[in-house]
């Protein structure tokens, strides 16, 4: 299932609706990378509230998305990691490393606002 991506001002919001296959995740990566250019976005939010599992592939792909978008001039925030998912990720040994996270969409938007203001835009 393709993840819908909405443009909101200078940000992109990808709202994952259901469990994603590996192919869906890679599609999301391609879609975000191209849309950041098309809309000249300064930030992207990936909302994973609907994900009941984040395994090593999902985490690796989200990290890649954040790194790729940074190279394209946009900051990424992952929002909505569920408490059970966070618990399983920690036990499995998965980290998002330097990728920003926020509790929910609202916090994610606030975070991007502080970042893009700092960079003087």
């Amino acid at each position: 299932m393709r993840v819908p991506i909405h443009k909101q001002g200078s940000y992109l919001i990808a709202s994952i609706q259901a469990a994603l296959t590996d192919a869906d995740l890679l599609q999301l990566q391609d879609d975000l990378s191209s849309k950041v250019g098309r809309y000249r976005s300064r930030g992207a939010i990936v909302d994973v509230t609907a994900l009941d599992v984040m395994d090593s592939f999902a985490v690796r792909t989200l990290r890649s998305i954040a790194h790729m978008l940074r190279l394209r001039g946009a900051e990424t925030v992952i929002v909505g990691i569920q408490p059970e998912v966070a618990f399983a990720m920690v036990q499995l040994g998965l980290t998002l490393e330097d990728v920003a996270t926020a509790l929910d969409l609202e916090e994610g938007l606030a975070y991007l606002d502080t970042l893009t203001k700092k960079s003087g835009s």
Binding site: A19, L20, T21, D22, A23, D52, V53, M54, D55, S56, F57, V59, R60, Q82, P83, E84, V85, F87, A88, M89, Q91, L92, G93, L94
Partner: protein, 134 residues
């Protein structure tokens, strides 16, 4: 009891199917929401291992009872190349595939019991169990 669900693992969509079937069975057994996520995540990793190393295989999910202990058993088997050094494969950060090298040791940490048998040229069988604590 005696309910067994077999899921063939051939592509990435089967990984999602296996973990969803596992979550359903675990829910029927009565695991907590956190345990459901932990079990689904372990199934996802072990299914991914099959795809990456053996291309195809099977995951069998079943309710499991051993004395007073009650839980879920997950058996992942493949006829892939096998693992030459199982001890090394069970170490964190040891990866031959495209993953993060957490598949086997990570799944072991998520579950209560974890057994692996592998023979080079014949394949690998992983049996893992999670007990329901009352």
């Amino acid at each position: 009891m005696e309910k067994e669900i077999a899921v063939g693992i051939k592509s990435d969509t089967d990984i999602v199917a296996a973990r969803e079937q596992g979550r359903c069975l675990a829910e029927r057994i009565g695991f907590t929401p956190v345990e459901l996520t932990v079990i689904s995540t372990a199934i996802s990793e072990i299914a991914r291992n099959i795809i990456e190393h053996a291309k195809s295989g099977e995951i069998v999910l079943s309710e499991y009872q051993n004395g007073t202990k009650h839980g879920i058993q997950i058996t992942a088997s493949d006829q892939g190349p096998g693992i030459p050094d199982v001890n090394r494969a069970m170490q964190d950060d040891y990866s031959t595939g495209k993953g993060l090298g957490l598949g086997l040791p990570g799944s072991k940490r998520l579950m209560d019991e974890f057994e692996i048998q592998s023979h080079v040229g014949q394949g690998t069988v992983v049996v893992m169990r999670k007990w329901k604590y009352l």
